[in-house]
Assembly symmetry: C2
Homo-oligomer: 387 residues x 2
C-alpha cells in the first residue's frame, strides 16, 4: 500500500443554513478544500462523498454524480461514489478515498461529506434518523435516537456510578471548545446549570446532552505522500485506518455500555499505525450524545471502563488536559450534519496538526478521529501524524 | 496494485418476492456465494453492498452494518460499507471491493447488491427512481425515467433512422436469453409483435421496451489472485476497471444520444485491461430500456454510432453472434433490482467464463460488464478474464 497524506481541507460553517441548497453546500466545502490544496478541479482523479439520507431529506439519490456535476467535474467524467453508514458516512468516505490512493487506483482524491437536514420538519428528521437503527425491531416500536442513547446512559450510570453532573460536564467542555471554532453551530460557553436545567428529552438525557440538527459539508483532499509536497508544505500523513461493524439493534449487543465496534475499529487503527494510546495528542470522538463521548473515551482505550466521567470532571479531556477530546467542539457544539461529521473530524485533526487551530490549538504530533453510525453498528477510526 | 480474482458468486432468483424481506434477500445471495467459494463467513475481511434507496423502499438506511449483522458477521466486527450511485450502485460495490483487495487493505471481500422494490406502490417506486435523475430540474417538472429515455430514443431514431422494429428486437433477443436463465424474472420468449403491440409507456417506448420493477440480490467474493486457488479451480481475474460521471441532468449533455460516461468508463477499463474490443467475447450492458442497449453497444465501441440497430436486427448481438450482448437476459428479462443489477452482471460474467452458463453458454476467454446510474450520470465497467 502506498503512503497517503491529506493535502487540503475545507469546511462550511455548520448550522441552520436556510439560504443554501444541498448541492451548494458541497460546492462551498469543495472549493475551500481546492483553494487550501492550491489546485484546480481538473486535477481530481476521484471523488467520494458521505451522505446518510438525501433520498429523504431532499428527495435526491445519486449524490456522487450530482456533486461531481455541480463541482464542474462532469466535464472530465470524474469517478464519483457516495458511501453511506448513517452518521458514520463521512468517516467511510475518507476510508474509501484513502484506499483508492493507497491502492494506486487514483492519485488526487476528494473525500467529502454533506447533509442538509433542515429542509424537512423535525418529525420527519426524527423518523429519517431512526433509519440508522433497526427499523423492524427498534424504530417500529417508536423508539428514537435519544431514546436509544438514554437506555445506554441509564444502564451506564447504574453500573458505574456516573453522575448527572459528570455527564453534563461533557457538554460544558465541548461548548467551551466550540466557542473557539469559527465553523461551529453553537459558539456560546454554557454552565453545568444550563445542561441540568434544560428540557428533558429522554431521561436521563436533556436537550444539552444532545447534538443538534445541522446543515453542513466538509471536504478533504488526499494524495500519495510522495507527491504531497507538490501541493503543501504541511502534508498530514494517514497513519492508521480501522473500521468495524456490530449488530444494528442495541438489544443484540452483549453489553450496551461498550460499543464493541469502537473497540475493534480503534484496535485496528492503532495496530496499523503502530502507535500507542499515550502517543495520541487529542481525539475527535463521536459525541452525538454526552454519554456517547463517555463510552468512546473508554472503548478507544484512553482510560478504564467506568472512569471517563471522572476524567472529564477533572478537566483531563479539555484542551490542556491529559487527553483532549473534541477540540472542535464535537458534534455537540460544532453541530452534526450526519454525512459531513466524519469528514469535519478529519478537517479539525489536520488543522490541529498543521498548527492552524487558532484559539483551540493543541501542540502534538499525532491526532485521531472516531466516527459512529447509529448506536455503534458502524465505527470508523483514523490516526494522523505530522510528516 | 495486487491482482484480484473472483472466487465465488451467488444470486437469488429475481422477481416479485413478496415472501422475502430486504434483509433476507441479501442473506440468501451471500450464503450462495460463500457456498460457491467453499468458505465460511469468518474468513470475510470486508463487505461492500450496493443499494439505491432502501431509505425509501423499506425505510432503512445503514445498510452495510444491517447486512453484516444478518449475515452473522457482526460477531467478527467485519467492516461493511454501502455504496450508492442509483442503478449503478452494484457496479460501484464491485469497484470498491476490487480496490480494497488490490490495495492490500483486505484479502477476502464481498461485493453485494440488493434492492427490495415491491414493498411500496408503483407511484412511490416511480418517485423513488426519479431521485436517480436531477430532482430539481427534471423530477420536479414531472418527468419519469421512461420519459427521459423516451427523449433519448426519439432523438436517436430521428437522427440515425433506427426503426421501431430494430428497437423491439433488443427486447426479443433479451427475452430469448432470459428464458435460458433460471434466475430471470421473465422466462418466456416473446415476438416482435409482443413488443410492438404492448402498452405505450412514453412514446416511442412501450411496456416491453422497459425493464421491470424487481426484488433481488447478488453477491460475489473477491480475493488476491495469488490466493484464489485456495478456494476455487476456476478463479476469474479482474482485468480492468473504469468508472466515470457525467451531468446529472439530461439537458446539460452535449449529445443525449451518446452517454459520455459510458465512453469514458469503457475506455478506462479497456486501457487498464490492455485488451481490444475484438477480444471481448460478450458484454452485459445496462438495458434499463431497449434504447439504452443500443446506445451502450455503440458508446462502448463495439460498432459505429448509429449502427447498433442494424447489428441487433442481423442477430449479431444474440448468443452465437459477433458480439453477444446480455446473455443473462439483461435488465429487460432478468429483472432490475436497481442496487443488485451491477453485481448480477458480474455473476453472469463469471458463470460464462467458468463455462457454467448452461443453455446460454458462450465460449470465450474475456467478458465485460457495463452498469449505468440514472440516464448515464454514473457508469462503471469491468473486464474479466479466465486465468
Amino acid at each position: 500500500m502506498r503512503e497517503v497524506a491529506v493535502i487540503g481541507v475545507g469546511c462550511t460553517k455548520f448550522g441552520e443554513k436556510w439560504e443554501t441548497s444541498f448541492r451548494n453546500l458541497f460546492v462551498e466545502a469543495g472549493a475551500l478544500a481546492l483553494e487550501d490544496a492550491n489546485i484546480s478541479g481538473e486535477h481530481i482523479d476521484e471523488i467520494f462523498v458521505g451522505n446518510m439520507s438525501a433520498g429523504r431529506f431532499v428527495e435526491q439519490e445519486h449524490i456522487g454524480a450530482l456533486i461531481a456535476d455541480y463541482a464542474g467535474l462532469a466535464t472530465i467524467n470524474v469517478p464519483a461514489t457516495r458511501v453511506e453508514a448513517a452518521c458514520a458516512s463521512g468517516g467511510l468516505s475518507f476510508r474509501q478515498a484513502y484506499t483508492a490512493v493507497a491502492s494506486g487506483m487514483s492519485d488526487i482524491v476528494v473525500a467529502a461529506g454533506v447533509e442538509k437536514m433542515t429542509d424537512v420538519g423535525t418529525d420527519v428528521t426524527t423518523d429519517v434518523l431512526a433509519a440508522a437503527a433497526d427499523r423492524e425491531w427498534e424504530g417500529i416500536a417508536g423508539i428514537t435516537f435519544p431514546g436509544l442513547y438514554a437506555m445506554i446512559a441509564t444502564q451506564y450510570m447504574h453500573r458505574y456510578g456516573l453522575t448527572r453532573e459528570q455527564l453534563a460536564q461533557v457538554a460544558v467542555k465541548n461548548h467551551d471548545n466550540g466557542a473557539k471554532n469559527p465553523n461551529a453551530q453553537f459558539r456560546k460557553p454554557i454552565t453545568l446549570d444550563t445542561v441540568l436545567n434544560s428540557t428533558l428529552v429522554a431521561d436521563p438525557l436533556r436537550l444539552f446532552d444532545c447534538s443538534p440538527v445541522t446543515d453542513g459539508a466538509a471536504a478533504v483532499i488526499l494524495a500519495p505522500l510522495e507527491r504531497a509536497r507538490e501541493f503543501t508544505d504541511t502534508p498530514i500523513k494517514v497513519l492508521g485506518a480501522g473500521q468495524a461493524s456490530s449488530t444494528i439493534a442495541l438489544h443484540d449487543r452483549k453489553d450496551i455500555c461498550t460499543l464493541d465496534a469502537t473497540v475493534a475499529a480503534g484496535n485496528r487503527a492503532f495496530q496499523m499505525a503502530g502507535v500507542e494510546r499515550k502517543d495520541i495528542g487529542f481525539v475527535e470522538v463521536h459525541d452525538c450524545f454526552t454519554i456517547a463521548e463517555i463510552c468512546a473515551i473508554e472503548d478507544l482505550g484512553f482510560c478504564k471502563k467506568g472512569e471517563a466521567g471522572k476524567l472529564t470532571e477533572e478537566g483531563q479531556t479539555a484542551i490542556g488536559g491529559k487527553i483532549p477530546v473534541n477540540p472542535s467542539g464535537g458534534l455537540k457544539a460544532c453541530g452534526h450534519p450526519v454525512g459531513a461529521t466524519g469528514v469535519k473530524q478529519v478537517y479539525e485533526t489536520v488543522k490541529q496538526l498543521r498548527g492552524d487551530a487558532k484559539g483551540r490549538q493543541i501542540d502534538t504530533e499525532i491526532g485521531m478521529t472516531h466516527n459512529v453510525g447509529g448506536t455503534g453498528a458502524t465505527v470508523v477510526c483514523h490516526i494522523f501524524g505530522r510528516v
